[in-house]
């Protein structure tokens, strides 16, 4: 009996001796900043530790490690990804590779982005957005039809972060994409604010992505979009009218002013409010609208 208790106690002590202490990690962090390879190795090892607080501390230490050791950290992390690890550890490792803008890791990450058993694969696309290597564009567009919504969203954001170099491939694949993928591409086009896809988007104005198209045309459109958006301020759907008023403000063409003044008398208060906001963008003057009680009011400022 005594022997058993003693063995259990020894086991407990060994386990607690192996547990990293926050104060120890602080030391590793400051040594890693100075480029100490041993401390960096310890921090990398701690990414495998099950406690998330420890993982976060190790991750933070590695971000701040001396820049001369970036290659060493990258290689160690890529090796870890090739081994079998739990999803949480992989998530931290991939998040870190993204933060380090590791181009070396792209091929391994591409494989993990397709691995449906890796539930946290959204982080692959988060990393692609940071790494910004155009070789991933096709993989990122493929991920817009991933069954997991957060994967699709991070893929869409990665396209935006990849910038104009992603646009030709996006435009090439747009016509054959399904409505959901088109929705992500349309929104990404909008945020990229590049005029090249304007014609493609105009063709989608009557699709189920109508609201997103209107929003995107406001961001990237030119004179060609103006009459279409003005026309949409008369739609029977209040959501379309709101979006059109917002887009006319974003489009920033003074020719929209008369239509927006008409929209100030819309039957829907939120349309009137957006018309006032957009008029302010176009004229530089604060514009009043009639609120739900019929009083003249200033719209709250969305674009501080």
């Amino acid at each position: 009996m005594m022997k058993r208790i003693a063995l259990l106690f020894i086991f407990f002590l060994i386990a607690s001796a192996c547990s990293p202490k926050i104060s120890e990690i602080d030391v590793y962090q400051s040594k890693a900043k100075e480029g100490d390879k041993g401390a960096i190795k310890k921090l990398i090892k701690l990414l495998e530790y099950p406690d998330e607080e420890i993982k976060v501390k190790a991750y933070s230490g590695l971000i701040e490690a001396h820049h001369d050791k970036k290659g060493f950290i990258e290689d160690a992390l890529i090796s870890m990804l090739k081994e079998r690890h739990d999803d949480a550890t992989r998530e931290f490792v991939i998040g870190l590779l993204g933060k380090l803008k590791s181009k070396k890791s792209v091929e391994v990450l591409k494989e993990l982005g397709k691995d449906k058993n890796f539930k946290r694969r959204y982080v692959v696309f988060s990393a692609f957005g940071e790494i910004q290597d155009e070789v991933v564009v096709d993989d990122v567009i493929d991920a817009l039809s991933d069954p997991l919504e957060d994967v699709r969203k991070y893929a869409s954001r990665a396209l935006i972060k990849l910038g104009p170099k992603a646009i030709p491939k996006m435009m090439q694949r747009f016509p054959s994409a399904n409505a959901s993928v088109k929705g992500y591409l349309i929104r990404a086009f909008g945020e990229l604010r590049n005029n090249q896809p304007e014609d493609l988007l105009i063709k989608e104005l009557d699709s189920e992505n109508k609201l997103d198209v209107i929003w995107a045309l406001g961001k990237l459109g030119k004179e060609k979009s103006l009459p279409l958006l003005i026309d949409l301020t008369k739609s029977t759907d209040y959501r379309v009218r709101i979006q059109a008023c917002q887009a006319l403000g974003d489009l920033n063409l003074k020719e929209a002013i008369p239509a927006l003044k008409v929209a100030l008398n819309d039957r829907e208060v939120l349309v009137r409010e957006w018309a006032a906001r957009s008029l302010e963008l176009l004229t530089g003057e604060r514009t009043l609208y009639r609120d739900e009680k019929g009083n003249l009011a200033l719209p709250y400022s969305i674009y501080h």
């Binding site: 976060v56 933070s60 998530e91 982080v123 699709r152 992500y184 409010e273 957006w274 709250y300 674009y303």
Partner: protein, 244 residues
């Protein structure tokens, strides 16, 4: 055998605890008065948002005394005690708070800096930020669920509602914390276009390791949620991820 086991046990015990010896650090100590126990003293480094998360904090003992060791630097102190018992969040009428004290310069010498903190009860405006309750009578409501990276509901997260697209300043409304089902419901005073974020921490910009997510449709700019007066919008779900 017994001696051997005891020997190993002692050896391991000392091995485990030898790393915890701390270097001499300076400390700030004092008393919160009128003496208040279980009040939080929040310590902010110079330049930090004094209404956001603190650098560190310490709880006063039953006599109102507190003491904390700090690395060298310039610090600001503020004491707060919420009736709700929560560590963070906007102060309400009746909560206890102090003025901001500092800067206090802490050096590496191991000195003890004595600083007593006078506290008073918050009066005036009911809340720094409106906490929208699901019990609110108003009918303009946005509701949904907060999920984590594995699609599981997130407990104790809050939805922050902003009325501007940058979402950079303090939120206009904040929901009560989610329960085990991750559900939130936030009643708003009127319809409009709102921008939503969910997070596990209260105040200040999200930091590395925090759980954070915005309502959007795969864009970097948040997607506005348009809700009309007296409309109840459901399934405005938000997924939170670690901030990388």
């Amino acid at each position: 055998m017994k001696k051997l086991v005891i020997g190993i046990m002692l050896l391991l015990f000392f091995a485990c605890n030898s790393g915890e010896k701390k270097a001499d650090k300076s400390s700030i100590s004092g008393m919160i008065y009128k003496p208040i126990g279980n009040a939080y003293v929040y310590i902010y480094k110079e330049g930090m948002d004094l209404k956001g998360p603190a650098f560190t904090d310490v709880v006063s003992d039953s006599n109102g005394n507190f003491s904390i060791q700090l690395p060298p630097g310039k610090y600001f102190l503020v004491a707060r005690m919420r009736k709700s018992g929560e560590v963070a969040g906007p102060l309400e009428v009746g909560d206890i708070k102090s003025d901001v004290i500092g800067p206090i310069v802490v050096k590496e010498s191991g000195e003890v800096i004595k600083t007593d903190i006078k506290v008073f009860e918050k009066k005036g405006e009911a809340k720094d930020i409106a906490i929208a309750s699901s019990k609110d009578e108003k009918k303009t409501v946005i509701s949904g669920y907060i999920f984590d990276a594995d699609g599981k509901p997130v407990q104790n997260a809050r939805v922050h509602v902003y009325d501007h697209v940058q979402m950079s300043e303090r939120p206009k409304f904040v929901s009560t914390p989610t329960g085990p089902d991750g559900k939130y419901s936030i009643a708003l005073p009127k319809g409009g276009t709102y921008y939503l974020a969910a997070r596990d921490k209260f105040g200040g910009p999200p930091k590395v390791g925090d759980l954070y997510g915005r309502y959007d449709k795969g864009t970097i700019e948040p997607s506005g949620v348009v809700v009309r007066d007296n409309e109840v919008l459901q399934n405005i779900n938000i997924t939170v991820h670690r901030v990388w």
